[in-house]
């Protein structure tokens, strides 16, 4: 395997990083919204949240991606594969992040919210200043874990025509007849990226550990 081939893989890994990072970010925001909606005292909201979670958790990502990719044109929306890929990855990851956050939200001691109510916070301020920051800290290990899962799941988006790391390795393997080396190299790159996410998670955990030593 040549240096040139490896460079092609690294370039493709750039796309994998982009798709994963954007999807992880969207999923965190969307997952927060879904988890808050799921915990709403309004039954219709709670049901909508739970339905979202159970659908996107229950249907395989591969099927979701193919659905989105084929559904959008039918609806008259013509999107490049990369956008379909990001939508699919985000929607699916958001369901898992919502579930991670739901547990954290539910485990927040009620008194922390009551202290904020007594201090005059509005419901929105309580969410922003108390519930979300504490829930994120509680859920951080699970959130980081899910982010790593998103990175690995991004290898599936080749089915909607996105030539990211896995697909590039496949293409190069068939043209160079070096499948073993190429897939080993791709695997190594995924591993490095996973470690990076895990390390970022640890750094954040340390910085946000609220003084527990």
């Amino acid at each position: 395997m040549t240096w040139q081939l490896f460079q092609l893989l690294v370039t493709a890994a750039g796309l994998t990083v982009f798709i994963s990072a954007v999807s992880i970010m969207i999923a965190l925001v969307l997952g927060t919204i879904v988890s808050v909606v799921t915990l709403s005292p309004k039954p219709a909201f709670a049901l909508a949240g739970r339905t979202y979670i159970s659908f996107f958790r229950g249907v395989p990502l591969l099927v979701q991606l193919l659905l989105i990719y084929n559904l959008l044109p039918v609806m008259g929306i013509d999107l490049p594969g990369i956008v379909a890929a990001i939508i699919g990855l985000s929607l699916c990851t958001a369901a898992f992040q919502a579930e991670n956050l739901r547990g954290a939200f539910a485990s927040l001691p009620r008194g922390l919210v009551e202290a904020a109510e007594m201090a005059g916070f509005s419901a929105a301020q309580i969410l922003r200043r108390v519930r979300v920051p504490i829930a994120f800290r509680l859920a951080l290990p699970a959130l980081a874990n899910e982010a790593i899962f998103t990175l690995r799941a991004s290898s599936l988006v080749s089915v909607v025509g996105v030539v990211e790391l896995t697909r590039t390795a496949q293409d190069l393997a068939s043209s160079t007849f070096l499948p073993l080396q190429l897939f080993a190299a791709a695997g190594l790159l995924y591993l490095l990226l996973s470690w990076t996410i895990a390390a970022l998670g640890h750094v954040m955990e340390r910085r946000m550990r609220w003084g527990r030593v």
């Binding site: 001691p109 008194g111 922390l112 009551e114 202290a115 904020a116 109510e117 007594m118 201090a119 005059g120 916070f121 509005s122 419901a123 301020q125 200043r129 108390v130 920051p133 504490i134 800290r137 946000m208 609220w210 003084g211 527990r212 030593v213």
Partner: protein, 262 residues
Amino acid sequence: MTAAVIVKALRKSFGATEVLRGIDLEVAAGDVTCIIGPSGSGKSTLLRCIAFLDQATDGYVFVQGEPLGFAPDASGARARLPDARVRDVRAKIGMVFQQFNLWPHRTALGNVTEALTTVRGIAPAEARERGLAQLRKVGLAAHADHFPAQLSGGQQQRVAIARALALEPQIMLFDEPTSSLDPELTGEVLNVMRALASEGMTMIVVSHEIGFAASVANRIVFLDGGKLLLNGTPKEVFGQPRHPRLEQFLETYLDRGAAILA
């Protein structure tokens, strides 16, 4: 002059159980009222209904003459007030909880300044000054940068008091502020409360510290089974002859406290 707090025919049920069965109470400005009574008699519920953390099933709470939570409407029916109005009136009240309820992701100073910046819109530099002043008052200026998890229970409770005081309330509510503290840590919290009382703060304190109640409070309220059984000065309530239910309570629940009064 209107009383600091007026509780009128207050009732509270959880499901089929009526926990407060018609409470009437007036707290004058500057009063230190201690609420005592057996566990489960409704002391916390009463305090929480006053603060509108629990919604009473019936009756009213007035804070400095203004209704909190519910008010009679034009036809005299009981109507829920809008959230913004609740927040306005509740701003007159500070509350200290048995479990401190400090926000774990904020330092001691952060806990004290959070509402100043978020709710009151005070600039961070000034909020910091005010926060430090409050921490100094409870003897914790040196611990400003500690997180709650790095503080003892007594220190956490003093931060919680500073957090409430920073918002300059007219009335302070305390729900068993020392009950989850090791005995050797109750003193530092009671001292802060004693100092606050001597400054003239209106206080309603649920406490099993009968010694504190007898020496600091000027009103004692004895709650039993959701009813306000006794309401008077410490002398009237604790002096002989004692109400048999109070006698029984002091004997059953408070060997230590009863000894103080003997």
